[in-house]
Protein backbone atom coordinates (compact mmCIF):
# COMPACT_ATOMS: atom_id res chain seq x y z
CA UNK A 1 0.00 0.00 0.00
CA UNK A 2 1.25 3.47 -0.82
CA UNK A 3 1.82 5.93 2.05
CA UNK A 4 -1.19 8.17 2.74
CA UNK A 5 -1.04 11.46 0.85
CA UNK A 6 -1.70 14.62 2.85
CA UNK A 7 -4.28 15.87 0.33
CA UNK A 8 -7.03 13.32 -0.36
CA UNK A 9 -8.49 12.99 -3.85
CA UNK A 10 -12.16 12.37 -4.51
CA UNK A 11 -11.42 9.44 -6.81
CA UNK A 12 -9.52 7.58 -4.05
CA UNK A 13 -12.69 7.54 -1.95
CA UNK A 14 -14.95 6.63 -4.86
CA UNK A 15 -16.58 10.05 -4.80
CA UNK A 16 -17.76 11.75 -7.98
CA UNK A 17 -17.80 15.51 -8.45
CA UNK A 18 -21.05 16.33 -10.28
CA UNK A 19 -20.20 18.19 -13.48
CA UNK A 20 -23.41 20.20 -13.43
CA UNK A 21 -23.95 21.18 -9.77
CA UNK A 22 -20.68 20.29 -8.02
CA UNK A 23 -22.18 17.99 -5.39
CA UNK A 24 -19.93 15.21 -4.09
CA UNK A 25 -21.68 11.85 -4.23
CA UNK A 26 -20.43 8.23 -4.13
CA UNK A 27 -20.11 7.22 -7.76
CA UNK A 28 -22.13 4.02 -7.12
CA UNK A 29 -25.24 6.23 -6.98
CA UNK A 30 -25.00 6.61 -10.81
CA UNK A 31 -27.14 9.77 -10.83
CA UNK A 32 -26.62 13.01 -8.93
CA UNK A 33 -29.30 13.24 -6.19
CA UNK A 34 -29.37 17.03 -6.58
CA UNK A 35 -29.54 17.70 -10.32
CA UNK A 36 -30.05 14.26 -11.89
CA UNK A 37 -26.92 14.36 -14.09
CA UNK A 38 -25.04 11.12 -14.73
CA UNK A 39 -22.08 10.67 -12.35
CA UNK A 40 -18.55 9.79 -13.47
CA UNK A 41 -15.24 9.77 -11.64
CA UNK A 42 -13.68 11.15 -14.84
CA UNK A 43 -15.34 12.39 -18.00
CA UNK A 44 -16.09 9.25 -20.05
CA UNK A 45 -13.74 8.55 -22.98
CA UNK A 46 -12.29 12.02 -22.45
CA UNK A 47 -9.03 11.54 -24.37
CA UNK A 48 -10.59 9.62 -27.25
CA UNK A 49 -13.30 12.25 -27.73
CA UNK A 50 -10.87 15.17 -27.51
CA UNK A 51 -8.45 13.60 -29.98
CA UNK A 52 -11.23 12.72 -32.43
CA UNK A 53 -12.61 16.26 -32.31
CA UNK A 54 -9.11 17.72 -32.70
CA UNK A 55 -8.42 15.58 -35.77
CA UNK A 56 -11.65 16.84 -37.30
CA UNK A 57 -10.71 20.44 -36.44
CA UNK A 58 -7.26 20.01 -38.04
CA UNK A 59 -8.87 18.64 -41.19
CA UNK A 60 -11.06 21.73 -41.41
CA UNK A 61 -8.28 24.16 -40.57
CA UNK A 62 -6.79 24.25 -44.09
CA UNK A 63 -10.06 24.81 -45.99
CA UNK A 64 -11.00 27.39 -43.36
CA UNK A 65 -7.92 29.43 -44.21
CA UNK A 66 -7.61 28.72 -47.93
CA UNK A 67 -11.23 29.01 -49.05
CA UNK A 68 -12.80 32.48 -49.22
CA UNK A 69 -14.97 33.31 -46.22
CA UNK A 70 -16.86 35.88 -48.26
CA UNK A 71 -17.23 37.17 -51.79
CA UNK A 72 -17.44 40.88 -52.50
CA UNK A 73 -18.93 41.90 -55.84
CA UNK A 74 -18.36 45.55 -56.62
CA UNK A 75 -19.65 47.04 -59.91
CA UNK A 76 -19.38 43.75 -61.69
CA UNK A 77 -15.98 42.80 -60.20
CA UNK A 78 -16.16 39.68 -58.06
CA UNK A 79 -13.48 39.37 -55.40
CA UNK A 80 -13.20 36.42 -53.03
CA UNK A 81 -11.58 37.15 -49.68
CA UNK A 82 -9.93 34.68 -47.33
CA UNK A 83 -9.24 35.41 -43.66
CA UNK A 84 -5.57 36.10 -44.36
CA UNK A 85 -6.37 38.49 -47.20
CA UNK A 86 -8.78 40.39 -44.96
CA UNK A 87 -6.01 40.84 -42.43
CA UNK A 88 -3.42 41.91 -45.01
CA UNK A 89 -5.85 44.48 -46.39
CA UNK A 90 -6.18 46.13 -42.97
CA UNK A 91 -2.39 46.10 -42.64
CA UNK A 92 -1.96 47.89 -45.97
CA UNK A 93 -4.49 50.51 -44.94
CA UNK A 94 -2.37 51.16 -41.84
CA UNK A 95 -5.16 49.91 -39.57
CA UNK A 96 -2.59 48.02 -37.48
CA UNK A 97 -4.60 47.44 -34.26
CA UNK A 98 -7.50 45.85 -36.16
CA UNK A 99 -5.11 43.78 -38.27
CA UNK A 100 -3.53 42.47 -35.08
CA UNK A 101 -6.95 41.72 -33.56
CA UNK A 102 -7.91 39.67 -36.65
CA UNK A 103 -4.54 37.94 -36.69
CA UNK A 104 -4.79 36.98 -33.01
CA UNK A 105 -8.47 35.98 -33.02
CA UNK A 106 -8.64 34.17 -36.37
CA UNK A 107 -5.21 32.73 -37.02
CA UNK A 108 -3.24 32.59 -33.79
CA UNK A 109 -5.92 31.47 -31.30
CA UNK A 110 -7.24 28.48 -33.35
CA UNK A 111 -3.76 27.13 -34.05
CA UNK A 112 -2.52 27.68 -30.49
CA UNK A 113 -5.67 26.08 -29.18
CA UNK A 114 -5.28 22.98 -31.33
CA UNK A 115 -1.57 22.63 -30.46
CA UNK A 116 -2.26 23.22 -26.75
CA UNK A 117 -5.03 20.62 -26.63
CA UNK A 118 -2.88 18.08 -28.48
CA UNK A 119 -0.13 18.73 -25.96
CA UNK A 120 -2.57 18.37 -23.03
CA UNK A 121 -3.78 15.05 -24.45
CA UNK A 122 -0.17 13.90 -24.85
CA UNK A 123 0.60 14.91 -21.26
CA UNK A 124 -2.51 13.13 -19.96
CA UNK A 125 -1.52 9.93 -21.72
CA UNK A 126 2.04 10.18 -20.36
CA UNK A 127 3.91 10.99 -23.59
CA UNK A 128 5.33 14.31 -22.35
CA UNK A 129 6.03 15.39 -18.78
CA UNK A 130 5.67 19.14 -18.26
CA UNK A 131 4.94 20.71 -14.88
CA UNK A 132 1.27 20.81 -13.85
CA UNK A 133 1.40 24.57 -13.21
CA UNK A 134 2.18 25.27 -16.87
CA UNK A 135 -0.50 22.80 -17.94
CA UNK A 136 -2.98 24.59 -15.72
CA UNK A 137 -2.29 27.88 -17.45
CA UNK A 138 -2.62 26.26 -20.87
CA UNK A 139 -5.93 24.63 -19.96
CA UNK A 140 -7.29 27.90 -18.62
CA UNK A 141 -6.20 29.62 -21.84
CA UNK A 142 -7.90 27.09 -24.12
CA UNK A 143 -11.10 27.29 -22.10
CA UNK A 144 -11.23 31.07 -22.04
CA UNK A 145 -10.03 32.25 -25.43
CA UNK A 146 -11.43 29.76 -27.94
CA UNK A 147 -14.74 31.54 -28.38
CA UNK A 148 -13.14 34.80 -29.55
CA UNK A 149 -12.19 33.15 -32.84
CA UNK A 150 -15.86 33.33 -33.76
CA UNK A 151 -15.41 37.04 -34.48
CA UNK A 152 -14.71 36.47 -38.18
CA UNK A 153 -17.95 34.58 -38.65
CA UNK A 154 -19.82 37.46 -37.05
CA UNK A 155 -18.03 39.93 -39.34
CA UNK A 156 -19.21 37.93 -42.36
CA UNK A 157 -22.79 37.85 -41.03
CA UNK A 158 -22.73 41.62 -40.38
CA UNK A 159 -21.29 42.46 -43.81
CA UNK A 160 -23.75 40.15 -45.58
CA UNK A 161 -26.63 41.87 -43.80
CA UNK A 162 -25.34 45.43 -44.28
CA UNK A 163 -23.70 45.46 -47.69
CA UNK A 164 -26.65 44.82 -49.99
CA UNK A 165 -26.49 47.58 -52.59
CA UNK A 166 -27.54 45.62 -55.63
CA UNK A 167 -25.20 46.05 -58.60
CA UNK A 168 -23.12 48.66 -56.76
CA UNK A 169 -21.82 46.34 -54.04
CA UNK A 170 -22.91 43.04 -52.51
CA UNK A 171 -21.30 40.66 -50.01
CA UNK A 172 -22.15 36.97 -50.00
CA UNK A 173 -20.85 34.30 -47.59
CA UNK A 174 -18.18 31.89 -48.89
CA UNK A 175 -17.48 28.21 -48.22
CA UNK A 176 -14.53 29.04 -45.94
CA UNK A 177 -16.91 30.50 -43.36
CA UNK A 178 -18.56 27.14 -42.71
CA UNK A 179 -15.18 25.42 -42.35
CA UNK A 180 -13.96 28.16 -40.04
CA UNK A 181 -17.06 27.99 -37.84
CA UNK A 182 -16.51 24.23 -37.76
CA UNK A 183 -12.94 24.67 -36.47
CA UNK A 184 -14.11 26.99 -33.68
CA UNK A 185 -17.04 24.81 -32.59
CA UNK A 186 -15.03 21.56 -32.78
CA UNK A 187 -12.15 22.96 -30.69
CA UNK A 188 -14.68 24.26 -28.15
CA UNK A 189 -16.18 20.77 -27.88
CA UNK A 190 -12.69 19.25 -27.68
CA UNK A 191 -11.81 21.55 -24.76
CA UNK A 192 -15.10 20.67 -23.06
CA UNK A 193 -14.58 16.93 -23.35
CA UNK A 194 -10.98 17.09 -22.08
CA UNK A 195 -10.77 16.23 -18.38
CA UNK A 196 -7.89 18.16 -16.71
CA UNK A 197 -7.93 15.76 -13.75
CA UNK A 198 -6.31 13.19 -16.03
CA UNK A 199 -3.15 15.33 -15.92
CA UNK A 200 -3.00 15.00 -12.13
CA UNK A 201 -3.79 11.28 -12.32
CA UNK A 202 -0.76 10.92 -14.58
CA UNK A 203 1.31 12.84 -12.03
CA UNK A 204 0.19 10.46 -9.27
CA UNK A 205 1.13 7.46 -11.39
CA UNK A 206 4.56 8.94 -12.10
CA UNK A 207 5.09 9.75 -8.43
CA UNK A 208 4.13 6.22 -7.43
CA UNK A 209 6.55 4.80 -9.99
CA UNK A 210 9.38 7.08 -8.89
CA UNK A 211 8.99 6.55 -5.16
CA UNK A 212 11.43 3.82 -4.09
CA UNK A 213 10.28 1.23 -1.61
CA UNK A 214 10.25 2.88 1.84
CA UNK A 215 13.95 2.82 2.80
CA UNK A 216 16.12 5.46 4.47
CA UNK A 217 16.61 7.41 1.25
CA UNK A 218 15.24 10.90 1.26
CA UNK A 219 16.15 12.10 -2.17
Amino acid sequence: MSPPTPLPRAIDQGLANCEICGKITPVVACRCPRCGAALHLRKPASLQRSVALLVAACALYLPANLLPIMTISELGDVMASTILEGMVEFWHRQAYPIAIVIFVASILIPIIKIVALVWLCAAASGKVHPSPRILGRIYWFTELLGRWSMVDIFVVSILVALVQFGAYMTVTPGPGALAFAGVVVLTMFAAMSFDPRLLWDRLEIMKAAETPPPTLDHE
Partner: protein, 216 residues
Amino acid sequence: MKRQASITPWPKPTGGPHPVACHFCDTLHEGSAVPEGSAARCRRCGVLLYQNRPASLVRVTAFSLAALILMAMVNMFPFLSMEANGIKTELSLLRAASELIREGSVTIGWCVAGFTIIAPLMMACSMLYVCGPLLRGRAAPGARYVASWLGRTEPWNMIEVFLLGVLVSLMKLGKMAELHFGVGFWAFAALMVCMAAAVAGIDRNELWDRLEVAAE
Protein backbone atom coordinates in the same frame (compact mmCIF):
# COMPACT_ATOMS: atom_id res chain seq x y z
CA MET B 1 -33.92 47.03 3.65
CA LYS B 2 -36.05 44.48 5.45
CA ARG B 3 -36.25 42.29 2.34
CA GLN B 4 -32.48 42.30 2.04
CA ALA B 5 -32.10 41.09 5.60
CA SER B 6 -34.66 38.31 5.13
CA ILE B 7 -32.49 36.53 2.53
CA THR B 8 -30.42 33.86 4.23
CA PRO B 9 -26.66 34.30 3.67
CA TRP B 10 -25.76 31.00 1.96
CA PRO B 11 -27.62 28.07 3.39
CA LYS B 12 -25.91 24.71 3.55
CA PRO B 13 -28.16 21.71 2.95
CA THR B 14 -28.87 19.61 6.03
CA GLY B 15 -27.32 16.20 6.55
CA GLY B 16 -23.62 16.10 7.24
CA PRO B 17 -20.54 17.70 5.78
CA HIS B 18 -20.51 19.21 2.30
CA PRO B 19 -17.20 18.43 0.68
CA VAL B 20 -16.10 20.17 -2.48
CA ALA B 21 -13.69 18.67 -5.01
CA CYS B 22 -11.42 20.75 -7.21
CA HIS B 23 -12.60 20.39 -10.82
CA PHE B 24 -9.01 20.72 -11.99
CA CYS B 25 -7.03 18.33 -9.74
CA ASP B 26 -9.78 16.40 -7.88
CA THR B 27 -8.49 17.30 -4.39
CA LEU B 28 -11.20 17.02 -1.74
CA HIS B 29 -11.89 20.02 0.49
CA GLU B 30 -14.21 20.55 3.42
CA GLY B 31 -16.22 23.25 1.70
CA SER B 32 -16.49 25.41 4.80
CA ALA B 33 -18.24 28.76 4.52
CA VAL B 34 -16.27 31.81 3.42
CA PRO B 35 -17.20 35.42 4.32
CA GLU B 36 -19.07 37.50 1.75
CA GLY B 37 -16.84 38.85 -0.98
CA SER B 38 -14.06 36.29 -0.59
CA ALA B 39 -13.29 33.02 -2.32
CA ALA B 40 -11.97 29.55 -1.49
CA ARG B 41 -9.06 28.21 -3.54
CA CYS B 42 -7.71 24.71 -4.02
CA ARG B 43 -4.89 23.86 -1.60
CA ARG B 44 -3.03 21.87 -4.20
CA CYS B 45 -3.37 23.75 -7.49
CA GLY B 46 -4.77 27.14 -6.48
CA VAL B 47 -7.80 27.00 -8.79
CA LEU B 48 -10.93 28.82 -7.61
CA LEU B 49 -13.23 26.40 -5.78
CA TYR B 50 -16.18 28.65 -4.93
CA GLN B 51 -16.79 32.23 -3.97
CA ASN B 52 -19.34 33.96 -1.82
CA ARG B 53 -20.71 36.85 -3.89
CA PRO B 54 -22.31 39.72 -1.98
CA ALA B 55 -26.10 40.09 -2.48
CA SER B 56 -25.91 37.32 -5.07
CA LEU B 57 -29.61 36.58 -5.65
CA VAL B 58 -30.64 40.24 -5.80
CA ARG B 59 -27.87 40.96 -8.28
CA VAL B 60 -28.62 38.04 -10.57
CA THR B 61 -32.34 38.80 -10.59
CA ALA B 62 -31.83 42.50 -11.24
CA PHE B 63 -29.20 42.06 -13.96
CA SER B 64 -31.04 39.30 -15.79
CA LEU B 65 -34.25 41.35 -15.71
CA ALA B 66 -32.31 44.32 -17.10
CA ALA B 67 -30.79 42.03 -19.75
CA LEU B 68 -34.25 40.91 -20.88
CA ILE B 69 -35.45 44.52 -21.18
CA LEU B 70 -32.30 45.44 -23.12
CA MET B 71 -32.79 42.45 -25.44
CA ALA B 72 -36.25 43.75 -26.30
CA MET B 73 -34.74 47.19 -26.95
CA VAL B 74 -31.99 45.75 -29.15
CA ASN B 75 -34.61 44.16 -31.36
CA MET B 76 -37.06 47.07 -31.33
CA PHE B 77 -34.75 50.00 -32.08
CA PRO B 78 -32.45 50.41 -35.09
CA PHE B 79 -29.07 48.85 -34.46
CA LEU B 80 -26.83 50.15 -37.20
CA SER B 81 -27.67 51.58 -40.59
CA MET B 82 -25.52 52.27 -43.58
CA GLU B 83 -26.01 54.53 -46.54
CA ALA B 84 -24.15 54.22 -49.83
CA ASN B 85 -25.07 55.16 -53.37
CA GLY B 86 -28.47 56.37 -52.25
CA ILE B 87 -29.50 53.03 -50.79
CA LYS B 88 -29.96 52.54 -47.06
CA THR B 89 -29.48 49.16 -45.39
CA GLU B 90 -30.02 48.21 -41.76
CA LEU B 91 -28.40 45.73 -39.45
CA SER B 92 -30.15 43.93 -36.63
CA LEU B 93 -29.31 40.75 -34.75
CA LEU B 94 -32.14 38.94 -36.51
CA ARG B 95 -31.07 40.18 -39.93
CA ALA B 96 -27.43 39.20 -39.33
CA ALA B 97 -28.60 35.60 -38.96
CA SER B 98 -31.52 35.56 -41.42
CA GLU B 99 -29.57 37.11 -44.32
CA LEU B 100 -27.02 34.30 -44.04
CA ILE B 101 -29.81 31.73 -44.13
CA ARG B 102 -31.37 33.52 -47.13
CA GLU B 103 -28.00 33.46 -48.93
CA GLY B 104 -27.84 29.70 -48.49
CA SER B 105 -25.46 29.45 -45.50
CA VAL B 106 -28.09 27.83 -43.33
CA THR B 107 -25.75 26.22 -40.80
CA ILE B 108 -23.74 29.36 -40.06
CA GLY B 109 -26.94 31.40 -40.00
CA TRP B 110 -28.35 29.21 -37.25
CA CYS B 111 -25.00 29.27 -35.41
CA VAL B 112 -25.05 33.08 -35.41
CA ALA B 113 -28.69 33.09 -34.25
CA GLY B 114 -27.85 30.56 -31.53
CA PHE B 115 -24.79 32.39 -30.20
CA THR B 116 -26.21 35.93 -30.26
CA ILE B 117 -29.98 35.55 -29.73
CA ILE B 118 -31.04 32.12 -28.47
CA ALA B 119 -28.27 31.41 -25.93
CA PRO B 120 -28.37 34.85 -24.23
CA LEU B 121 -32.18 34.80 -24.18
CA MET B 122 -32.27 31.30 -22.67
CA MET B 123 -29.68 32.28 -20.06
CA ALA B 124 -31.41 35.48 -18.99
CA CYS B 125 -34.81 33.74 -18.79
CA SER B 126 -33.51 30.78 -16.82
CA MET B 127 -31.51 32.93 -14.39
CA LEU B 128 -34.61 35.01 -13.73
CA TYR B 129 -36.81 31.91 -13.40
CA VAL B 130 -34.45 30.21 -10.94
CA CYS B 131 -33.19 33.16 -8.87
CA GLY B 132 -36.40 35.22 -8.68
CA PRO B 133 -38.37 32.71 -6.56
CA LEU B 134 -35.20 31.87 -4.58
CA LEU B 135 -35.26 35.45 -3.25
CA ARG B 136 -38.21 34.31 -1.15
CA GLY B 137 -36.65 30.95 -0.42
CA ARG B 138 -38.80 29.04 -2.89
CA ALA B 139 -37.86 26.93 -5.88
CA ALA B 140 -39.95 27.37 -9.01
CA PRO B 141 -41.36 24.17 -10.57
CA GLY B 142 -38.63 22.47 -12.58
CA ALA B 143 -36.03 24.96 -11.32
CA ARG B 144 -33.38 22.24 -10.99
CA TYR B 145 -33.86 21.17 -14.58
CA VAL B 146 -33.64 24.79 -15.78
CA ALA B 147 -30.53 25.41 -13.65
CA SER B 148 -28.79 22.32 -15.03
CA TRP B 149 -29.22 23.74 -18.54
CA LEU B 150 -27.93 27.12 -17.46
CA GLY B 151 -24.36 25.86 -17.10
CA ARG B 152 -24.53 24.01 -20.42
CA THR B 153 -25.67 27.13 -22.30
CA GLU B 154 -23.08 29.48 -20.82
CA PRO B 155 -20.10 28.83 -23.16
CA TRP B 156 -22.32 29.45 -26.20
CA ASN B 157 -23.36 32.96 -25.24
CA MET B 158 -21.11 35.09 -27.45
CA ILE B 159 -22.56 38.58 -27.38
CA GLU B 160 -19.22 40.15 -26.44
CA VAL B 161 -17.60 38.46 -29.44
CA PHE B 162 -20.39 39.79 -31.68
CA LEU B 163 -19.70 43.30 -30.40
CA LEU B 164 -16.04 42.90 -31.40
CA GLY B 165 -17.31 41.71 -34.78
CA VAL B 166 -19.34 44.92 -35.13
CA LEU B 167 -16.21 46.99 -34.41
CA VAL B 168 -14.13 45.06 -36.96
CA SER B 169 -16.89 45.47 -39.57
CA LEU B 170 -17.01 49.20 -38.89
CA MET B 171 -13.30 49.44 -39.62
CA LYS B 172 -13.85 47.51 -42.85
CA LEU B 173 -16.74 49.69 -43.99
CA GLY B 174 -15.59 53.01 -42.55
CA LYS B 175 -14.37 54.59 -45.76
CA MET B 176 -16.98 53.47 -48.21
CA ALA B 177 -20.20 54.52 -46.53
CA GLU B 178 -21.97 56.59 -43.96
CA LEU B 179 -22.78 54.65 -40.81
CA HIS B 180 -25.35 55.53 -38.17
CA PHE B 181 -25.55 53.97 -34.73
CA GLY B 182 -29.04 53.51 -33.34
CA VAL B 183 -30.36 53.07 -29.80
CA GLY B 184 -30.24 49.33 -30.39
CA PHE B 185 -26.45 49.37 -30.62
CA TRP B 186 -26.00 51.09 -27.27
CA ALA B 187 -28.60 48.77 -25.74
CA PHE B 188 -26.53 45.87 -27.03
CA ALA B 189 -23.37 47.21 -25.39
CA ALA B 190 -25.29 47.58 -22.11
CA LEU B 191 -26.72 44.08 -22.58
CA MET B 192 -23.20 42.67 -22.74
CA VAL B 193 -22.33 44.29 -19.39
CA CYS B 194 -25.58 43.12 -17.76
CA MET B 195 -25.16 39.53 -18.93
CA ALA B 196 -21.58 39.41 -17.65
CA ALA B 197 -22.67 40.85 -14.30
CA ALA B 198 -25.57 38.40 -14.01
CA VAL B 199 -23.41 35.36 -14.82
CA ALA B 200 -20.70 36.44 -12.39
CA GLY B 201 -23.30 37.34 -9.78
CA ILE B 202 -23.73 33.92 -8.17
CA ASP B 203 -21.44 30.98 -7.60
CA ARG B 204 -22.61 27.66 -8.99
CA ASN B 205 -22.24 25.96 -5.59
CA GLU B 206 -24.25 28.67 -3.87
CA LEU B 207 -27.03 28.49 -6.46
CA TRP B 208 -27.34 24.72 -6.07
CA ASP B 209 -27.11 24.80 -2.26
CA ARG B 210 -29.94 27.32 -2.25
CA LEU B 211 -31.99 25.20 -4.66
CA GLU B 212 -31.45 22.11 -2.52
CA VAL B 213 -32.53 23.88 0.66
CA ALA B 214 -35.48 25.58 -1.03
CA ALA B 215 -36.93 22.37 -2.37
CA GLU B 216 -36.89 20.60 0.97
